[in-house]
Structures are given as structure tokens and as C-alpha cells.
Amino acid sequence: MTKQNNGVREIAYPGQILGSSKEYLASHGTYIDEQGNIVSKYLGILSISGNYISVIPLSGVYVPKPGDHIIGIVTEVEKVGWVVDINSPWLAFLSLSEGVDEFVDLKRVLLNRYYDEGDVIYAQVLSAKKGDIQLSMKGPSFKKLKGGVLVKVTPSKVPRVIGKEGSMINLIKEKTRTIIRVGQNGLVWISGEKVDKAIMTIKRIDEKSHVYGLTEEITKMLSE
């Protein structure tokens, strides 16, 4: 089934029957119909690994899952926390206790001294139920991102931007001498020397994620 045609990965369309649930296991991007067939839910790249069939969508919005590491923009400072835009259909909330480690006397301190409107933060999804999303910044890697540029990519293509065990992102970091942080919600934060080139490369990956030989093309592009 994983045949190669014209250098483009095999594309599945919604409603395409991919196999029987007796032979394979349905992974993400698929569902099992009444007859026991595994059917694609998305227009996306078909991947069969082991006996798992999955379809990686080529477009779509970000749906938060607990544990995701994301990049967000603070849109509002409230009394006991912050409202954060996380590039998904819903706004997220970062509460004071999850956002700041130290004791805060609310009578004396204004919260915008920690995070103000427009600040970019790297955080974790704590819970996501029925459109109510709570964030947390407990942990060493979660912090406010100062300076830099934000780039949007398709959320489902984030694994491609990172590459196998970070191979792709490390390559870009090294060649362009930049610091890059990728949120699973499709926002990428870049800061450093050749920011333009890094942005161009990441946009290229977003456009060409369905083509074979992407790593070679990106290596070539970066060494120019």
C-alpha cells in the first residue's frame, strides 16, 4: 500500500477504506465503520507502521491535549491569571499558582509585572476539557520568551519540523545559528543570527512535508 508515486507520499482522502480492522489497528486520523473497515477521517499522508494505520492530516486546527508543550501569546491579564491565545479555536487560561513560583501578594502586586499583554510564553497544557483549557508553567523549560520572531506552521506538521529525534530542527539551529523553540500548537519561536533563513526553511518544510527527500532538500537549502 505504501507505494511511491512521483516522489509524493501516498495521500489518503476522507472516506477512503484503508484496511480491515481484523488485520490492522486503527491509529489516529482514522475510524472504524460498521463493517469493520478502517476509514480515513482526513485528507492527509497515509502511514502504516507495524500493524497500525494512521493518517496525518495536511491541514487543520490545533486541538489541545494534556501534556502538550505549546507557545502562546498573552492576550489579557486578569485578577488571578492570564488569558492566552494558543493558536487553537479556544483561548487558554494560565492561573497565577501555575504561572509563578513565588508567593504573590495580590493586594500589592499587579500581575502584568510577570506576564503582560503581548508576551510570548512557553507552557504546558495541564487539562483540556470541552473547550476549557488550563495551562501550567511549572518545570524548568517553561518561561517567557523574550525577543525573537513567531512563525506559524500547520499543527499536524510539527513532528516534521522537529524531525526524527530533533534531527531537522538541530540542523536548522546549527546552520543558521539561531535558538528555535517549537510549540506543538504550530507556533515556532526563532531568535538569533540568520532568522530570515530559518523562517524560510521552516515555511518550506510546512509546504513540502508530503514530498519524499525533504531532509536532503533542506540540507541543500541551508548550505547555500
Binding site: 509524493v8 495521500i11 472516506g15 477521517k41 485528507l43 492527509g44 487543520g60 479555536p89 483561548l91 470541552k130
Partner: protein, 238 residues
């Protein structure tokens, strides 16, 4: 019936535009025509052109319209003022509101809406040229635009119109046939399961004729389905 200004709609077994009774017009489909939309598609059936754009899922406001356990589908079908011979007054008419509703109902059953509570999926359809069968053209365009937007779907929706002139069953009516036929029946169905999501009829058909016409529509629909698949794959073949 079957005659306008002395012109016969069906002559020697051929229709006005030279088609056979069960022949469809030239069909063209293109996905990803509007860069700003999450998903978009253009579908042309002969001289009828429909462009559909899908935005979302995105947060639905005002809040009282939100559903706590699923996304809401909002659909607007709009005819461009220049789409017909006589200028169409801008603004939703009774007909346009009705078609918006039936299009929404034709595509809603194939969507997995429960993944996106409190949100809306907005569908905007513009008819740039109208020459009969605009609602089925719109449904085909909507189906493609939804797939392009990355909205989870059970299946694609295929739509086609059928009708009757002088007792002969025909497929894919154009504007003249639409206005002067004995019956006209737009049908939309899910491509794999053949579950009907839209069935309307104007005029008169017997039980047998409906059965026969539905059969013909399902057969011809397979061709439209293959074209939809091709259009979707072409978006990413480079």
C-alpha cells in the same frame, strides 16, 4: 411542458446543448482557491460555477449560540449579483436562505463535530455563474472545501441533479431545462455508503421513475466522486 418559445428541449433523443439524456456537463474541480480560508474549492458544472470557503473550527460568538458538546455548522449560500441574466438583488432572499439550510443539512451528517465543542465551522458559498443545479454544485464544492480545511469527515458528499423532459429521465439539468422540465430532483449522498443527505423534488415523478432516476444518479455520482478524489490529490501533487 418540455417546450419553450417553440424550441423543443429534447430533439431526436438529444438535449439542447447536444448532450444525451443521461450525460453530464463538463465538470471542473479545483481545491485551495482562497488562500485566506482554512479550506476552499471551486466546482464548475458547465456554466454553473460555485466557490466554497470553509473557516474554522473557530470559537463561536455570541456565546449563547455555542453548543457545549459539539461544533455548530453555519452556512451561507449567496448568488453574486452578476450570476444570472437578470441582476440578482444582493442580500439573502427566501430561496437563498433555504438553500443555505439544505446544504448545511447535506454535509453535517459526515462531520465529526463532537471533537470541537463551543466552536463553529463557517461555510461560505458564492455562486459566480448560475446555469441550473447550483445547489448540487455547491454541495460538491463544500465537500471538497471541508476536506481541504482538515475537518474530520466520515466520507465525502457527492451531489447530482436529475429530472424529466417529455417523459425522458435526464441528469445534470442546466438553467433552461431546470425552468421548463416536468420534474427536477437534486440529490446528495455520502460517497461510500450511498446514504442520502439531500433529496428534493419539484414537479411530478412516479414511484418507478424516482427509483430509476436515483439509480442513474448513484451510477453517475461515482464519476463525480472520482473527480473529487482527483481534485483533492492534485492539491498536493507537485
Amino acid at each position: 411542458m418540455g417546450k419553450i418559445k417553440g424550441i423543443e428541449l429534447l430533439k431526436n433523443g438529444k438535449r439542447l446543448d447536444g448532450r444525451m439524456p443521461l450525460e453530464m456537463r463538463e465538470i471542473e474541480m479545483k481545491v485551495g482557491v482562497i488562500p485566506n480560508a482554512n479550506g476552499s474549492a471551486m466546482v464548475r458544472f458547465g456554466k454553473t460555477i460555485a466557490v466554497a470557503a470553509v473557516y474554522g473550527p473557530r470559537l463561536l460568538l455570541p456565546k449563547h449560540l455555542q453548543e457545549n458538546d459539539r461544533a455548530v455548522v453555519q452556512c451561507r449560500y449567496n448568488m453574486a449579483p452578476f450570476s444570472t441574466d437578470e441582476r440578482v438583488k444582493p442580500g439573502p432572499t427566501r430561496r437563498e436562505i433555504e438553500i443555505s439550510k439544505v446544504i448545511r443539512q447535506a454535509v453535517e451528517p459526515v462531520l465529526f463535530l463532537e471533537n470541537y465543542p463551543k466552536t463553529t465551522i463557517d461555510i461560505f458559498i458564492e455562486i459566480l455563474q448560475a446555469d441550473g443545479s447550483t445547489r448540487v454544485t455547491s454541495i460538491n464544492a463544500t465537500s471538497l472545501a471541508l476536506a481541504d480545511a482538515g475537518v474530520p469527515m466520515k466520507d465525502l458528499v457527492v451531489a447530482l441533479s436529475g429530472g424529466k423532459i417529455n417523459g425522458t429521465l435526464i441528469l445534470d439539468l442546466n438553467g433552461l431545462e431546470d425552468n421548463n422540465s416536468e420534474a427536477d430532483m437534486p440529490v446528495a449522498f455520502t460517497a461510500n455508503k450511498k446514504e442520502i443527505t439531500l433529496l428534493q423534488m419539484d414537479g411530478e415523478l412516479t414511484k418507478e421513475e424516482i427509483k430509476k432516476l436515483l439509480k442513474e444518479i448513484f451510477t453517475a455520482g461515482e464519476k463525480i466522486y472520482q473527480m473529487q478524489i482527483k481534485a483533492l490529490k492534485d492539491r498536493y501533487s507537485e
